[in-house]
Structure formats: C-alpha cells, structure tokens
C-alpha cells in the first residue's frame, strides 16, 4: 500500500503538537505564567528568547508550548463528545427509522441552520468562560455532520446480509448496532472526527480571542492572539507564533483527515480488493 504524503505530513504535524503538549514542562524554558519580568518586556525573538517576550516579559516560546495543552485538550475532547453524540443519534435514527428518525433529522437540520460557533457562543454566555464550559459548548454544537454520515451509513448497512443474519440469529438491536453497524461505518466517522478536531482548535482560538476561553493568565493560543492584537505593529512576534501554532495544527489535522479518507473510504477500499 502506498502511503500518501498528506497522511505522513498531517500525521507528523499532529503528533508533533501532541508531543509538545505532553512534554511541555520539559520543553518550556520558563514557567508560562509566573516567570514575568518587566526587565525583559517586549524582547524580539533572539537566541535567548526564541519567540520573543510579551509586555510583561513572559517567554512566548514557553507560552506557546503550554498553549498546546489547552488547544489539543479542547480539540480532542470536544470532538470526542461530538462523535459520540453524532454516532449515537445518527446510527439509531438510521437503524430504527420512524418517528425517532424524523426527530433526529429535525434536530440535525436545526443544528445545521445555526452556525455552530454562534451556538457555542450562546452556550458560553450562559456557562461563563473557562475550560469546562469550552468543552461543553464545543462538544454539543458540532455533531451534525457525524450524525448525517452515521445515519446514511446505518440506512445502507441495515439491509446488508450480515445485519439481517444477525437479526435472524437473535441479536438485540443494541448488539446489532454496536457489533454489526458501528465497525462498518468507522472509517468515515474517523475522517470527520479528525477534520472536526481541526475546526474545534480553531473555534477554541476564536472563543478565547473573544475572551470567552481559558481564563488568563494561563496561556491558550487564542487568548495569546487576543492579548497581542494591540501590539500587532510594535511587537508582531506576539501574534505570529501562536498564529503559526494554530495554523500548523489545523493544517496537520486537515491533511490527516484527507489522508485517512483515502485509506478508510469504503469505496476506495473495495476498489483495492
């Protein structure tokens, strides 16, 4: 099997982001919050301060490294919530049909009609800023694509011979959904999940930029951008490096999603066999 470039580059970027997040205490040069020193305020990038320092003299490199933790936690956890909700709703709707399907369909259309970031904003407004609120707001608002795909897959899979055979053999509905349907739709669900993670990272940045994300002074890429916007002309490094981190992570996730689609897509899979 030929490994594709997007899979390798995307996987590498995503793995790098995860490693940085995990190893942050060892990679960072200084404490991202406490090591403020006005003596070094607004230093441009140099051998001492790789990414420069901010107006309080905090090391931007260390803050970007620690910021990976927030961005990835939000990206991964909120997308997992979305995937679970989307699969549970879509799979059961497609398999059972009837009024439940109509209900789920209506709900999905409603979710698609409201831009998810606006919806997340509304939830954040109710819950207040903070990491938990971020996870909830982003985890509840971006499951509609997963739901659609799960529903469509369930609809086409339920007439497959092995699903009918399972019914004949006395499998209950739940067992059929988990053992017969879910494993056979996992490919597209993983692809959508990967792409969704990228958009969750972006949404985190956006919400944090608006001051609704993780509370300062703990760094997140979005809040760093927000802090940097007044100095964008005087100290551009304050926005360039967190921006680059967001860009590379999202790019990596999108490439990874595309690459996974190429190998997991049931159509391209059946073409190979």
């Amino acid at each position: 099997m030929k490994l594709r470039a997007n899979l390798i580059i995307g996987g590498a970027l995503f793995a790098l982001a995860i490693l940085v997040g995990l190893l942050a205490p060892w990679l960072a040069h200084t404490d991202p919050v406490l090591d403020a020193n006005l003596m070094n305020a607004e230093e441009p990038p140099s051998w001492t301060w790789w990414f420069g320092t901010d107006d309080q003299g905090r090391d931007i490199y260390s803050r970007v490294v620690y910021g990976a933790r927030v961005s990835l936690t939000v990206g991964i956890v909120s997308q997992l919530i979305n995937s679970v909700i989307g699969v549970a709703l879509g799979l059961s709707a497609g398999y059972w049909g009837g009024w439940w399907d109509d209900f789920v369909n209506g709900l999905t259309n409603l979710m698609l009609a409201i831009p998810s970031l606006i919806f997340a904003l509304a939830i954040m407004a109710v819950l207040g800023p903070g990491l938990t609120s971020l996870l909830i707001a982003l985890g509840l608002t971006n499951w509609s694509f997963t739901c659609r795909i799960a529903r469509a897959s369930a609809l086409s899979l339920r007439s497959q011979g092995y699903v009918q055979a399972a019914t004949v053999l006395g499998y209950g509905d739940l067992r059929i959904m988990i053992t017969q349907l879910l494993p056979n739709m996992l490919g597209p669900i993983v692809v959508i999940g990967t792409l969704g993670m990228g958009s969750a990272v972006l949404s985190e940045a956006a919400l944090s930029f608006l001051g609704l994300g993780v509370r300062p002074p703990f760094p997140s890429w979005g809040s760093m951008l927000s802090d940097a916007r007044e100095q964008i002309t005087t100290a551009p490094w304050l926005s360039v490096f967190p921006g680059l981190a967001i860009f590379l992570t999202v790019l990596g996730l999108n490439l990874l999603g595309d690459g996974l689609r190429d190998i997991l897509d049931p159509q391209s899979r059946s073409r190979r066999t």
Partner: protein
C-alpha cells in the same frame, strides 16, 4: 410435550399491505415438523417460501404481517410472543441459514468471534469459554486447522468455507430446528453437494429438524423425508418424498416432476427438451379466482375457475389441493 410436534403451523395467512390495500401473500398454510424430521418447502420464485420461514421466526416486517392462523413451537403458540421472547427463540432454538452465504458474515469481524458471540448471547458464556467453543464448532463443520481459522476474516475464506462457518454459527447453540433457505444457490455444484451432506449429517447426529427451502424439487426430495409444494401462496400438495416422485398428485407437481432431468433420460442427455409448465406464475396482486393454478392447468374445469379447492387427504398420507387430482 413428547406428543406435540416440534413446530406446527395451522391455517397461517401472511398479509401484504402496501398502504392502498391488503392482499394475502400466503394463506391456508398448514404443516407440522416433528423432532429431528426433515421437511422441504418447494416452489417457484415468489410463491411465498421465504416469507413463510420469516413468519416462523417472527421476522415479518412492514409491509408484511401475520394475518391469521397459529404457529406452535413445542405446543406453545409463538406468533403473539413479545419481541424479546421471540428473540430468545431465534438463533437459540430455531436457527436459519441464509440464501446469501457471501454476505451473511460481518466483513470486519473474525469468523471465530462471530461464532463465539452466539454462545455469549444465548448461553451466557464468558468470551473465554465462548472462544474455545468456537474452535470446536468450527472443527465440527470440518474446517481444517480451526484454531487458526477462527482468526480469519470472511474475505479470507472461500464461498464453501463461509457457508460452513454459517452452519457452525446456526448450529452453535444446538437449535431444535434449522431453517435452510436456499442454502447453496450461490455455490458451485460440487461444493453444493458437500455442504448439503454436511448439514444433513450434523442435524441427524444432533437430532435437529430441518426445514429446507428451495425451488429444486430434486434437491429437496433428496434431503427431506416429506415435501410440501407451494404455488402462488398456497401449499398445493404435501407428501412423502418418495411418493411425490413416484406418483405426483397435483397437476402442478406433476409438471414439476416431469420437468426434472432424470439420470440417463433422453432429456438429461440433451436429446429432447425438458417439459416445462406453460404460462407464468400470477402476480401477487392478481391471483386468479378459484384454483390459482387454473390458467396454466390442462385439467381445469368450470369449478376450478370459481371456487378454490380444499385439501384432500390422501390414503398414503399427506394431502393435495385439487378437484381432479390423480
């Protein structure tokens, strides 16, 4: 319960409701199968064999439903059981092998796991025990190197092997009745014979009754002690297999028997064409009045076209549904 037959169907009617009107896709279906007996259901495509089987295991779904009659399993009526109770019967006491062996296995799950799941589901075994039992089950259907084969995925197996796995799954829980709906149509002839032989032997060893469904009267009569012939939603004749070949009673059965190639006959040697029954099977929404075979029957008279014949019991056992039967 020693006296009761294993399964007994009485005057079963299956309705097809397309939202506009309700027609009987099958009616007046009655038969019984004793413990360990082999019973065949034969008829042309669309005559209602598969829906009859689905009715037995409680799996008729919209637009089909049971419109009347009784199904007894070990003397207990099962047609009104709750979904959960019917599920306990399915796969456990009544198993079924499918028309499509190629697609009846889950492509992303190793075959051993699919066998083992039956023990977990119906017998409450742990996965550890179930996996061991799966190896034994695979060995019992004569799959070579079963302890390695359990890890194979369906696409790694040939059609014949897959059908063996299906038989292992169906017989895993030691069912009392095995329904085989055209179990070998998708396989080539030599494999077909092997699979049928295997199924027959395993069921005989374990005292499992077989309900075999096929359009091939020769095949069914070979496997089964008794055969019922279906035409357009009704059973038209039910006899011992030997009798039905020697002296078919119903004009339709006579046509079927005459159309079978016999070993060494001129037809089998390709010198004459097989005798076919003229005409086509009527559509389900367009069944003729009276005897449904009358438009194709050479012996039809006035009454055949107006009033449906009742069943006539035959002296040698069995029955036939025809006014002018032999």
């Amino acid at each position: 319960m020693t006296g009761a037959p294993l399964i007994e169907v009485e005057d079963l009617r299956i309705d097809l409701d397309d939202g506009v009107r309700r027609v009987a896709a099958a009616e007046g279906i009655s038969f019984r199968i004793d413990r360990g007996e082999t019973f065949g259901l034969v008829g042309e495509s669309g005559c209602g064999k598969s829906i009859t089987a689905l009715a037995l295991i409680g799996l008729l779904r919209q637009p089909l439903s049971i419109g009347g009659g009784v199904i007894r399993f070990e003397g207990r009526e099962i047609q009104h059981l709750s979904a959960a109770r019917q599920r306990e019967l399915r796969g456990n006491r009544i198993a079924m092998i499918f028309q499509e062996p190629m697609t009846a296995l889950n492509p992303v799950s190793p075959v051993g796991r699919q066998i083992a799941e039956m023990f977990v589901l119906h017998k409450g075994k742990s996965w550890r025990e179930a996996n061991k039992l799966a190896v034994e089950a695979l060995a019992s259907v004569r799959v070579p190197a079963p302890e390695r084969r359990v890890n194979d995925y369906p696409h790694q197996l040939s059609g014949g092997m897959r059908q063996r796995v299906m038989i292992a799954i169906a017989l895993a829980c030691g069912p009392d009745l095995l329904i085989a709906d055209e179990p070998t149509t998708a396989l080539d002839v030599t494999v077909q014979a092997e699979i049928i032989e295997l199924m027959r032997n395993l069921c005989a060893e374990r005292g499992t009754a077989i309900l075999m469904i096929s359009h091939d009267l020769g095949l069914v009569a070979n496997v089964c002690r008794r055969v019922a012939v279906m035409y357009a939603g009704r059973i038209v004749e039910e006899r011992g297999s030997a009798d039905i070949f020697r002296a078919p009673s119903h004009p339709y059965t006579q046509g079927l028997v005459a159309s079978l190639p016999r070993l060494g006959s001129r037809a089998a040697l390709g010198r004459t064409r097989l005798k076919e029954i003229a005409g086509v099977v009527p559509a389900i929404t367009n069944f003729p009045e009276g005897c449904r075979f009358n438009p194709r029957c050479t012996q039809a008279t006035g009454i055949c076209r107006t009033v449906a014949p009742q069943t006539d019991l035959l002296e040698a056992g069995g029955f036939v549904r025809c006014y002018h039967h032999a």
